[in-house]
Symmetry: C2
Subunit: 188 residues, 2 copies
């Protein structure tokens, strides 16, 4: 494919994803209808769904982008740093709330669950690998299995998203993350 077309294709995909993210953030997962997606993106449904099969494909691609970015931080600095980054980016809170709105769908729709799990796999792998290295280095408590620590951090992440999305004060939540960090560490 010639360079110009590739650039054009990438720019068009970017336009669609950025618009879709704004639309989900503003209206929530359920209420981001095709009509609203068209308005936020500035393209017709024909043009949008030429690039992405359907609304869920769009949503999963945004989730995959998140997971990739978070996995990068988690791998270098741990999942707690991912959470600290969330506290520092209030403009993202509306988008984060969509993670909560899909819980019911995750439980009741196996295809959706599978799609979501595939996109989140990179973050899980990065967190698990980082926990393994920290344990080897003696920085992690060793009286609790690694999988329990990972489930704990995943739960704290969801809890943090819920509190942020509900309007809690990020400063208070930051002190909570200190406590969480302390609770997974090897006591001195």
């Amino acid at each position: 494919m010639p360079k110009v077309s590739e650039d054009h294709l990438a720019a068009r995909r970017r336009q669609i994803l950025d618009g879709a993210r704004r639309c989900f953030a503003e209206h929530g997962y359920d209420r981001a209808t095709v009509r609203r997606l068209e308005q936020s993106i500035g393209l017709s449904r024909g043009a949008i769904f030429h690039h992405f099969r359907d609304k869920d494909s769009l949503f999963f691609e945004l989730a995959r982008e998140d997971a990739e970015r978070m996995a990068d931080v988690a791998s270098r600095e741990g999942l707690i740093q991912v959470m600290r980054d969330m506290l520092a980016a209030p403009e993202e809170f509306d988008w984060l709330a969509t993670r909560l709105e899909i819980a019911r769908k995750l439980r009741n729709d196996p295809v959706f669950h599978q799609g979501w799990a595939e996109r989140s796999a990179e973050l899980s792998a990065a967190t698990s690998e980082r926990l393994r290295r920290q344990k080897q280095a003696g920085r992690l408590r060793d009286d609790v299995p690694g999988e329990v620590l990972q489930t704990y951090l995943d739960l704290v992440l969801d809890g943090l998203v819920a509190r942020l999305a509900s309007g809690d004060d990020p400063t208070e939540l930051s002190a909570v993350l200190d406590l969480v960090e302390d609770s997974v560490r090897q006591p001195n």
Copy 2:
């Protein structure tokens, strides 16, 4: 009011609340329309809204009932026991998911936020009072302010609801609660 009418009134309110709880659990907060509420409850909208002003009043009354029951447990056995009770009641997970679905509304709708906060106040007070007693008894870590411990437990509660609502395994989550319990205790 004669006894018979009081009994009748209480039974009618109970019928409405039980039906509304089933409706919210099945469809989620947003999709529990007035038509669906009528179907689940088995009464006309006129009859329903004779007893409760609107959909939010119904929802808040259910939240108040929850908070009252949870506050009772939290006051005697702590908020972590409230969470253990959740793990033991899978039939409640669908209803619990509604707690997540209202996060966006809590943040963007001050009247709704106020209504919700009033109904949850009893649980917050019970948790706070229990934490104070535990601290006095030397059972709680004293290197972290009580408010931070309370925010931490609230966050864990929301995270637990999110993981349960998404379909996580309650057995794994139970091990996480052991870790949480350990992390608020005074080290020996």
